[in-house]
Symmetry: C2
C-alpha cells in the first residue's frame, strides 16, 4: 500500500484541451449580455426580450457555440447519459441486447456508455468509474459481485440487472429459463432420446445455471440422470472442442447446449467427424441467433432486443424517480423446433419453412 503512492507520476501527455473552445462567456460578451441571459435564452427557462433573444441567438450562431455537456452536467447534477455493462461483447446475443438498449435510450434522450469487463480483476473499479459518468446503470449477467451492486445501489445510483438474478432492492429483467429448458428437454425426451447431456458452464452465467437446472428437473421427472456434463464457454470453438471430448467418452443421444454458438460448433464438428446430426446425436441451442435458422438448429428464442429495450425503459423510470416498487420482469421465450433435435412429421417441417420465409 505504502509503496504504491510514494512515487510521483510524470505529467504524462502535454495537457490536452477540450475542443470547441467557445464558451458561454464568449457568447455573452459577443452579444453584450450576461452569461445568465445566454443560459436563459438557450434553456428557455425564463422570459427574455425578443430583441435580446435575437441578439443572443445571432451570437450563438456566429460563434458556433455548443454548450459543454460537462459544464451542464456539473451544474445540473445529472449526466443525461446512462451505461450498460457486459461481461463480454462477442456474439449475437450481446449485440442484440445492446441494439435494443441503445435504441430505446437514444429515444429517451440519453447518451449510452458501454463497458465490457472481460472478466478482468479490475472490473469493480471500471464499473465504479463508469458509475460516476452516468445517471444509471444496466448490469448484464455475471459482471461484478453483489457487494459492488449493493454499494452502488446504496449510493443512490439507479440500477437494472439484466439476465442476472435479483439481489437486494434492485430492478431486474430476464428471459424465462427454467421452464423453457424443461420444455425443451421434454421435447427431446418425446423424441425417444434417453441419454442426455448438458453443454455449458453454469458457473459463468446465471442464465446457463437456470437452463441447466431446468434440464436436470425434466430428466429427474422422467426418472433419468443426465449423462456426464461437459463444461465449455460460449463460443463455436468450445463447441467443437466439446465434440472431440464427447466422441472420446461416447456420444449421448442428445446434447442440450447453453447457447447457439456452442451448439453450432458442436454440430459442425460432429458432422466433420463423420457422425450424423440428428441421426447419431441430437443437438439443441439457445437464443435463436441468425445462424441457427440457416443451420436448422432447434433452439429456444428469447427476445434479446426487447430485453435491452425494457431494461432501458425501467432504468429511465428509476432515474426519473417514477420507478415505484422494485420490479422483476421475466420475459417469455419460445421453443423453435427445427432439424437438429430429431425426426419430425414431414408436414410439420414444410409448414414451418413456409411460415419462416413467407
Amino acid at each position: 500500500m505504502a509503496d504504491v503512492s510514494d512515487r510521483v507520476a510524470e505529467p504524462a501527455v502535454p495537457r490536452p484541451t477540450i475542443p470547441s473552445g467557445v464558451t458561454i462567456r464568449d457568447v455573452a460578451a459577443h452579444a453584450g449580455v450576461s452569461i445568465a441571459t445566454v443560459s436563459r435564452v438557450l434553456r428557455r427557462t425564463a422570459f427574455v426580450t425578443a430583441t435580446t433573444r435575437d441578439r443572443v441567438l445571432a451570437s450563438v450562431a456566429d460563434l458556433r457555440f455548443i454548450p459543454s455537456p460537462l459544464g451542464r452536467a456539473l451544474a445540473e447534477g445529472r449526466h443525461a447519459a446512462n451505461g450498460i455493462v457486459f461481461p463480454d461483447l462477442s456474439g449475437p446475443y450481446y449485440a442484440d441486447v445492446l441494439l435494443g438498449y441503445e435504441e430505446e435510450a437514444g429515444e429517451l434522450g440519453r447518451s449510452v456508455l458501454i463497458l465490457s469487463t472481460h472478466g478482468r480483476d479490475a472490473a469493480p473499479e471500471m464499473v465504479r468509474e463508469l458509475a460516476g459518468r452516468v445517471d444509471g446503470l444496466v448490469l448484464l449477467g455475471r459482471t461484478i459481485s453483489d457487494d459492488v451492486i449493493a454499494e452502488l445501489s446504496e449510493r443512490g445510483l439507479p440500477i437494472v440487472l439484466l439476465a442476472r438474478p435479483a439481489t437486494g432492492a434492485v430492478d431486474s429483467v430476464k428471459a424465462e429459463n427454467v421452464e423453457s429448458a424443461r420444455a425443451l428437454t421434454a421435447h427431446l425426451l418425446a423424441h425417444g432420446h434417453r441419454e442426455l447431456a448438458f453443454l455449458g458452464d453454469a458457473d459463468r452465467s446465471p442464465d446457463t445455471l437456470e437452463r441447466c437446472s431446468g434440464f436436470g428437473a425434466a430428466l429427474a421427472a422422467a426418472g433419468l440422470k443426465p449423462a456426464a456434463a461437459v463444461l465449455g464457454g460460449f463460443s463455436e470453438e468450445e463447441g467443437r472442442r466439446a465434440a472431440h471430448e464427447l466422441l472420446h467418452t461416447g456420444l449421448p443421444d442428445a446434447v442440450v447446449c447453453a447457447n447457439d454458438e456452442l451448439a453450432l460448433g458442436l454440430v459442425a464438428a460432429i458432422r466433420a467427424m463423420g457422425k450424423a446430426v440428428p441421426g447419431d446425436v441430437a443437438v439443441t441451442g439457445w437464443d435463436d441467433v441468425m445462424a441457427a435458422r440457416y443451420a436448422g438448429l432447434t433452439t429456444v428464442r428469447q427476445p434479446m432486443r426487447e430485453l435491452g429495450a425494457l431494461a432501458a425503459r425501467m432504468l429511465d423510470l428509476r432515474i426519473r424517480g417514477e420507478g415505484g416498487q422494485v420490479r422483476h420482469e421475466v420475459l417469455r421465450t419460445e421453443l423453435i423446433v427445427r432439424d437438429t433435435c430429431g425426426q419430425h412429421q414431414q408436414t410439420d417441417q414444410q409448414v414451418r419453412q413456409l411460415e419462416e420465409y413467407r
Copy 2:
C-alpha cells in the same frame, strides 16, 4: 425561429442529483487537510508526507470516496472517453466492429460512448452533442455529412472515419472493396455465369457503392453489361423482397449482394419458391458473418473486429497528439468460396470443409 423560443419550458423533472455525494472537500475535512493535498495523494502528482498520505487514504476508504470524472474532466480539459457513431446497430457487421473498438479503447483506458443515428434528421445535433462528451470520435459510413465532419474537425476534435471515404485532412480506415468485388465477380464469370445482377443500395453506404463499382468494372472488362440492378437495404427481409422482384423480372445467372444478410434472405426465399441455388441462380454475399458459414454462402471476408480496433488505436494516437501525418488505412479482404456461387471440384470443397472445422 422567433416562435420557437418565446415560451418558457417547465422545470421538468424534480432536479436529480449525482449519486455518491461525497466530494473531495468531505475527504479533506475528514482527514484534516486541504483539498489540494487530497488531490495530490490521489493523483500522485507531488510528494506528500507518509503520515499525511495515510491519513488521506484512510479517509478516502472510510468515506468510500470516488472522484467525480465530471469534475476531473472539467478541470483537466479532457474526458478520457471517446465515441463511435453508427448509422445503425443491427446486424453482425456493426456488432463486430464495435466489439473490436470497445476492446481496444478499453485497453487504452478510455470509456466508450456509442450513438446510432438511424438516419434521423437530428443526427448532426446528436453527433455535436456527443462530440462535447468525448476526446475523439469514430464515424462509421454514411452517418453525417462532410460539412459536419469538417466543422468538428476544424474545432480540433480528433476524428477517424471508418468505412467511409476520406474527406479533408481526417484519418480513415476501411476494408478494400473495389478490387475484392472485381475478384468476386471474376470468380462468378469463371463459373460461366453471364447475366449478373447487383443487389444493394449504393446510395446508402460508401462500401456498397465501391462494391458495386468493382462489380461493374469486372463485367465491363468481360464486355458484359449488368442485369437490371435491384435496390435494397441490408436486411434479410429486403433480400427476400428482392427475390420476389427478381422472379417477376426473370432470374439472372447470378446475384452479387452488398452484404450477407441480403444474400441469405435472397437464397432462402428463392429456395422457398422452388428454385435452386446455385443451380438456377448463384448468389454471393459480403462480410462472412457466422450464418454465412452455416448457409454455405460464398462471400468476401472483411476483418470487422480489426477495423474497429485499428480505428481505436488511430484515434488514440491522434488524441495524444502523436498522430503525425493523416493516415488512410485499407485492410485486405479474403474471398471465401463456398457453395452458393456454383459447382466446384469435389476435392476443393472437402479440403475447405476440413480446414474450416479442423
